[in-house]
């Protein structure tokens, strides 16, 4: 793997909860401008890995590097400030606020609120710039017409798109997406896939954690497969699809479930 083009890398990552190792010695590297999938059967440790990268957990061992700087162990807001922004599973939004307000929260990093300026009314320029940025993010995801609706009233697909818009509004280098396709119908999935390709083509790097293999095969440039907390393999989609161990890992877990 070409080290120079890697924007985000995970080295020898270990994470235990009360003696149970959820992730064990995982290393992976995400190339700049790629859509990278992190997959594996249930309980493979991919969500834990995701939570470590985004700063939700502090790893027990190893480290996460972003553009060569260590970001593991930093609080989540600090990781976001460096340029690595995550979304959440399901439709985690500010449901009580309007769609536009949701996007405005996303602009927090670029336009930090200032107390004195806000009271004196001297932050007009900042506010307008934030508004513009928020509207642009909504427009990007086709949500501008819903700007004044309550976020909780949006359709499921729109709520997912809004989650992406909030993350996008903070202008990240790397987007971390937590199971973005779960619970979506085929049409919503297609729309979402289109949006992600659009994001990649605009120069963003995307890391997706997904359980569903099919959705991810057609989208990702690179895929890392985890099983039992460890790296199983990584490669291009067609290599993964025909990899015997991947197939048996998924089949094995399917059998366990059944």
């Amino acid at each position: 793997m070409n080290v120079t083009s890697s924007i985000l890398s995970v080295r020898d990552l270990g994470m235990s909860f009360g003696g149970v190792k959820a992730v064990d010695g995982l290393s992976l590297s995400v190339e700049r401008g790629a859509i990278h999938g992190l997959i594996g059967p249930n309980g493979a440790g991919k969500t834990t890995t995701f939570n470590v990268i985004s700063g939700y957990y502090t790893p027990s061992e190893g480290e996460v590097l972003f553009q060569g700087d260590r970001i593991s162990g930093l609080p989540m807001y600090e990781v976001a400030r460096r340029g690595v922004v995550r979304t959440f599973q399901h439709s985690t939004l500010f449901a009580e606020m309007t769609v536009l307000e949701n996007a405005l929260v996303g602009t927090h990093l670029a336009h930090r609120p200032k107390l004195a300026a806000a009271v004196a009314g001297l932050d007009k320029r900042d506010r307008n710039a934030a508004l513009e940025k928020a509207r642009a993010a909504l427009d990007y995801f086709g949500l501008l017409s819903t700007a004044d609706s309550r976020a909780g009233d949006l359709s499921h697909g729109h709520q997912r798109a809004l989650g992406l818009a909030v993350a996008m509004a903070s202008g990240p280098e790397v987007l971390l997406l937590d199971e973005p396709f779960t619970g979506m119908n085929p049409e919503e999935t297609r729309t979402m896939m289109g949006l992600m390709e659009k994001l990649r083509d605009s120069g963003r790097t995307i890391l997706i954690v997904e359980h569903d293999m099919r959705a991810i095969m057609g989208l990702c440039d690179r895929i890392t497969v985890m099983n039992f907390g460890k790296l199983l393999t990584h490669g291009r989609p067609h290599e993964i699809r025909s990899h015997p161990e991947v197939i048996s890992a998924y089949l094995g877990s399917a059998r366990n479930v059944a």
Partner: protein, 328 residues
């Protein structure tokens, strides 16, 4: 949407009404009006913290910090009363800043219990240290606001009307500042933290820092309210800021509803008027805690959005769009 002109007219009308109110009242009612004005500042500042989703049981003690600091600054250090009041507000903000470190390691009712414990510690310190806090008897003969003249009006601060006008200006200004904060991106950040703190953090918001900011601002205004109170009544003691007072503030806020800026003010005004007019008229004044207890329980049970929500539903129904008010 009212036009600029009608809005200005409404504001003018409100100001005229606020200025005219005390002249139709008896002396004791004027005094109550002063307390009501001060309490409006207390509940509004309380709501500012509640915006971030945290409920404190230490707010009234913080108000007391402002009262004690202002009283001591004028009495012991000879600082002029208006400056002492600002000192009181700043002290309260500073104490809140110090407390924020331990308290914001907690959330939800751990924060509630933690803020209660911190408040009790401060109250006990007042009780224990006769010098300078005066022990259980507190501080007496606090300097009153010095008299002064503005054009034709002589501000004689033994007159409740004069002090009411003074409070009106101070509280009005404070409310304006808090209103501006809430309507700014800062207010949006507080709301965001309330609804989804993890999502807010993923957008780069340092949740603890903003909670601390809300707590410090709220405490500063609460301290200012305490200072206003101290220099009016002239004597304060640890029991002036006990749990019962805190429960009154909690009741006003919950009864009014925290969804909008004016909810707690409405709750405060409604209950104080109910208390002073109804209870006093019927000679049932010691029944105040009883009434407050029932009102608190009933509003938690049946008015989840407070009086303000009720009013919204009502005006909404009048305008034929009652459904808008029914959103949670």
């Amino acid at each position: 949407m009212p036009s600029q002109l009608t809005r200005a007219g409404l504001w003018l009308l409100l100001i005229c009404m606020l200025l005219a109110v005390p002249h139709g009242l008896s002396f004791s009612q004027q005094e109550i009006l002063v307390f009501l004005t001060i309490n409006v500042l207390v509940v509004t500042s309380y709501r500012l913290l509640a915006l971030t989703g945290e409920w404190s049981l230490g707010h009234v003690v913080i108000m007391g910090v402002g009262a004690y600091a202002s009283a001591l600054a004028s009495k012991e250090l000879g600082i002029a009363v208006p400056v002492a009041m600002i000192t009181g507000a700043l002290t309260a903000a500073l104490v809140a800043f110090g407390l924020s470190y331990p308290l914001f390691r907690m959330k939800g009712f751990y924060f509630l219990i933690g803020s209660f414990a911190a408040g009790e510690i401060i109250r006990l310190l007042w009780k224990r240290f006769r010098d300078p806090f005066g022990g259980p008897k507190g501080i007496k003969k606090i300097e009153p606001m010095p008299d002064f003249d503005i054009v034709i009006w002589r501000f004689d601060f033994f007159e409740p009307v004069s002090y009411y006008y003074f409070c009106l200006v101070v509280v009005g200004l404070s409310l304006w500042i808090m209103w501006r904060i809430e309507k700014s991106p800062l207010g949006l950040t507080f709301h965001a933290i309330h609804w989804q703190d993890k999502l807010a953090e993923s957008a780069g918001i340092n949740v603890r820092a903003y909670k601390t900011l809300a707590f410090v601002i709220a405490s500063g205004f609460s301290g200012l309210a305490g200072a206003l109170l101290a220099h009016y009544i002239g004597t304060i003691n640890p029991n002036s800021f006990d749990l019962e007072q805190m429960v009154f503030v909690l009741t006003w806020t919950i009864v009014g509803g925290t969804a909008t800026f004016f909810g707690p003010i409405l709750g405060c005004a409604a209950l104080v008027i109910l208390n002073e007019i109804v209870l006093r008229e019927f000679g049932f004044e010691q029944g105040r805690p009883l009434i407050y207890g029932f009102v608190l329980i009933l509003s938690v049970l049946f008015l989840p959005r407070g009086l303000e929500g009720l009013l919204q539903d009502f005006t909404g129904a009048l305008r034929g769009r009652g459904r808008q008010g029914s959103r949670q």
